[in-house]
């Protein structure tokens, strides 16, 4: 999907992070491309959260470098990540249940009139456009979030991440608490992110549909990038093998050899 000739939206090279004696991440290199969904997998403690927190500026990498659209950048603070358009959607979503969908999307960035007044109409119109672009159907963007299903809430949280200027979206277990149908909704949502040319990283434990919704699979094991491969060339059994370490490391189409990749 992504154009292999263009530089990736975000490139991580040889990122390492240790907490005292514990090596949480060792030499991880990864490309995130516009219009691509990467599934980030691994057992508990494999380093998924550490990687996400480094990308979102909450942790500082001990070693390694970052490139944004081919240009070297540093991510030392959450504000740095935000400036690069990196947005994280955490599991608890951080929505205000008693407020409308539109207000949640633009919370803290409400369109204003005369400096102090909220331009509710513009906010609702913008929210509508945004939800339509993402193919999200809600009864109304005026509905309070407390009346929404889990899948719809995920959609609102994602819309906010995009409204905040997110181009690189990090989704932390987006389907963890959801039923089958709502999981489907979130998968549709992730697919529409891809159409919007966002780079998406999905952390998940749910292997059932992961190959259908992702373009690449990255498996972390004991802090190392154990496997990195196009989803189209991967099976669920292989993934389980990588996660558990039964299968040997397998890096295909990684940062070092990006030009051989036939992105589906």
């Amino acid at each position: 999907m992504g154009e292999p000739s263009k530089p990736p939206l975000m490139r991580l090279s040889n990122v390492s992070k240790a907490f005292g004696q514990v090596k949480a991440l060792v030499d991880v290199s990864l490309d995130l491309r516009a219009g691509e969904v990467v599934g980030l997998l691994g057992d508990n403690g494999a380093g998924k959260s550490t990687l996400i927190k480094i990308l979102s500026g909450n942790y500082h990498a001990d070693e390694g470098s970052f490139e944004y659209q081919g240009r070297p950048v540093t991510i030392n603070r959450p504000a740095d990540a935000q400036a690069l358009g990196i947005a994280t959607v955490y599991q608890d979503l951080a929505l205000v249940e008693t407020r409308s969908v539109a207000h949640n999307i633009y919370l803290g960035r409400e369109p204003r009139r005369f400096g102090y007044f909220m331009d509710r109409r513009k906010m609702e119109r913008d929210a509508n456009v945004m939800l339509e672009d993402l193919n999200i159907s809600l009864a109304s963007q005026k509905t309070d979030v407390e009346l929404l299903s889990g899948g719809q809430r995920q959609a609102v949280a994602l819309s906010r991440a995009i409204a905040m200027g997110g181009n690189i979206l990090l989704l932390d277990e987006p389907t963890a608490a959801l039923g089958v149908e709502q999981t489907q909704q979130v998968h549709h949502l992730i697919t529409s992110m891809r159409r919007q040319d966002k780079a998406v990283v999905v952390i998940t434990h749910d292997l059932s549909d992961i190959l259908d919704i992702t373009d690449r699979i990255a498996v972390l094991r004991q802090g190392k990038l154990w496997a990195y491969a196009p989803s189209s060339e991967t099976t669920t059994n292989q993934i389980i093998g990588w996660i558990t370490g039964v299968a040997p490391p397998h890096i295909r189409n990684g940062a070092g050899e990006m030009n051989n990749g036939s992105a589906q």
Binding site: V96, E97, G108, M118, R160
Partner: protein
Amino acid sequence: MISALKRQDNWTLIGLFITLLMLIALFSWQSEFFFTTRNFINIGQAISIRGLIAIGLTVVMIAGGLDLSMAAVAAVAGMVTASLITLEVNSVLVGVLGIAAAGVLGSFNALLIVKFRINPIIATLGTLLFYRGLAFVSTGGDNIVIGVNAWSELGRGSWLGAPITVWLFLAVVVMGMCFMRFTVAGNHLYAIGGNSEACRNVGIRVDRLRGWTYVAQACLAGLAGLMLTSQSGTALPSALNGAELDIIAAVLLGGIALSGGRGGLLGTLLGLLIIGVVQNGLILLQVQIYWQSVVRGAILIIAVTLDSLRRGGGYR
């Protein structure tokens, strides 16, 4: 329209409005004196001073806080005002200083709550005792009599047939409604009451906004203290003693949640009107005065029980 009906707050308002109409119908049927302009002015007069405090409390509670000290703040402001009047300070300056004194007390509440992170119930219970004590200590428990002078016009005068206190109260209600509905800050206060962590995450200055609600609340309480002093010609250190709970009851009746984020000033206005109408009606029907408290308590319990049942229970 459907989404408007789904909003739980709107049902609360409709319920309150119907209750108010039924009460008015009941008392009008039972007493020939009830449905008269004169009596409605009485009701307005009776609720407007406490109403000023209730407006401030509503805003504080929407942002997820609580203030128990507001009646004591009003008493202190009344004492400060009366002392300054006896010293023959310029009238306008007296008003400004009286409200400023209240604002200082409100800032102290804010400091305890947003800086030292003390639970608002505990912090303002402490300042309730502290401020009330100050009001008594200032004169050794004596009242300050200011009599009838230029100041009395504020509390006793009327304009276009209605008392100035009522106009002032209505003006504050309308301004408060506009603020909470149309400004970014007002909408942020709702969001803070709903989920303060989420607001912090997106960069809203939660502590600063919350702090201001306590200052604004205290200033409104100060204004109420001024009006009361002007109306009675006397500043009492015991002014509005015990009114805290009545005011909180009116606000809760109006659909404001203790947990914050819900309700609005229209609800508080309806809550105040219902309590005012009941109080007035019972007097006209010559019901023994002690029944007042029983009936008010019953209304509050019924209202919040219905609300809780409809929402599927809020307290866990």
